[in-house]
């Protein structure tokens, strides 16, 4: 796994979403996004930027402190050190106060036309 300088996340919330803004976690440490806009209430879209500057062995979006969070889609753009950025899109997920969303994904295999 490469050193991850920065990542951007865009989270579209479905029918249920917490009032508080989401946090992210790296290797067990929960951290607030350094830049963010939007929200994660029902139907809202949250955009956040974080600067891990480290080698993650786990990278997560922390579940809400209470209630359910229905995520429709999550888009994560990774900026690894010394490599070109890449984006991974994730489908629906439901989080609660005891769960976190895994957002650490390797660069997708390239698809080419033949």
């Amino acid at each position: 796994m490469p050193k991850l300088n920065t990542f951007d996340v865009v989270i579209k919330t479905g029918a249920n979403g917490p009032a508080a803004l989401p946090k992210w976690a790296i290797n067990g440490f929960v951290v607030e996004f350094e830049q963010s806009k939007g929200g994660n209430g029902p139907g809202e879209t949250f955009e956040g930027t974080a600067n891990p500057g480290s080698f993650p062995h786990s990278l997560l979006i922390r579940g809400p402190e209470s209630g359910q969070w229905d995520i429709e889609e999550t888009k994560v753009t990774y900026y690894p050190n010394g490599e070109s950025p890449y984006t991974v899109r994730l489908g629906a997920a439901r989080l609660d106060e005891e769960s976190d969303l895994n957002i650490w994904h390797e660069r997708p295999q390239a698809v080419f036309d033949v």
Binding site: E34, S58, G63, V88, A93, N102, Q109, V111, F112
Partner: protein, 264 residues
């Protein structure tokens, strides 16, 4: 040092002040009775959302057959994704050119240097190559794409009627494979607390589920390919695709679902 790092450790050190024994010795200070017992941090569940892929653009039938190729992460196979169905309702697996007599498309694919096996299923053709072949897949994939495109444009059948007539009934496949699981596969993986079950058979396509220690295990793909595939195909040579229908992050005891206390 990352900006989040100093903030996290500053908070942790602050929180620990007054509770940590002095360095290098025994804490001789009075140990006041705690008013409340510390509550252990709850184990948290790791949710893995499906990774969305941009599907190959499907369009109305036209002479322009669009094909994309993707090489598996371990470089073991190349999946060619076509913008239209190649074989619907069934799947066809060919272990060699000699056994590809019921498919002119497979025979053409085996003409390409290095092709070892071919699996035709739905919108895809999956090729493996001989272990002596190294380097990238681009040339092989390009030749395979050209062969598939030419075959589809000519409107040739992918498999012969004899291939379809020779397929066992779904119930017969299910019964035989269940016996293989009960007598060969599951006893051997029980030592790892693993279990494999048949989910369903559609045509000659087999869907399985991996449970217990197999679920979420990083080696489950190897188990599937090297163990289950060989045993299943030995018992029923006519089966096509064998697909793992397991959600490797769900269930009661997936391999990597729970993280140690304190991890999130």
């Amino acid at each position: 040092m990352p900006s989040w790092f100093s903030k996290v450790f500053k908070d942790k050190n602050n929180a620990a002040t007054g509770t940590r024994p002095p360095l290098g010795g025994i804490d001789v200070s009075e140990d006041p009775e705690p008013e409340t017992k510390p509550v252990p941090e709850k184990r948290r569940l790791l949710v893995n959302a499906p990774v969305l892929e941009d599907a190959v653009e499907t369009a109305a039938w036209s002479a322009d057959v669009r094909i994309k190729a993707r090489v598996e992460k371990d470089n073991s196979a190349c999946v060619l994704m076509v913008d239209r169905p190649i074989l619907e309702g069934h799947s066809a697996w060919f272990p060699s050119k000699l056994k590809a007599g019921t498919s002119s498309l497979a025979q053409t694919l085996f003409e390409i240097d290095g092709v070892e096996t071919a699996l035709i299923h739905g919108f895809t053709v999956t090729l493996t190559r001989r272990p002596t072949m190294h380097g990238d897949w681009k040339q092989l994939a390009q030749e395979a794409g050209n062969a598939i495109r030419a075959h589809l444009i000519e409107g040739l059948p992918v498999v012969t009627p004899e291939f379809l007539d020779g397929l066992p009934a779904e119930d017969a496949i299910l019964t035989t494979l269940k016996r293989v699981l009960d007598t060969e596969i599951n006893p051997s993986i029980a030592a790892h607390s693993g279990e494999i079950a048949l989910d369903r058979v559609e045509g000659n396509t087999v869907y399985i589920q991996m449970m217990g220690g197999c679920q979420g295990c990083a080696a489950s793909d190897v188990t599937l390919r090297q163990g289950v595939h060989d045993a299943f195909r030995s018992a029923v040579p006519q089966i096509g695709a064998i697909l793992d229908n397991t959600d490797h992050s769900a269930g009661k005891s997936p391999f990597y679902k729970e993280l140690p206390v304190g991890m999130s």
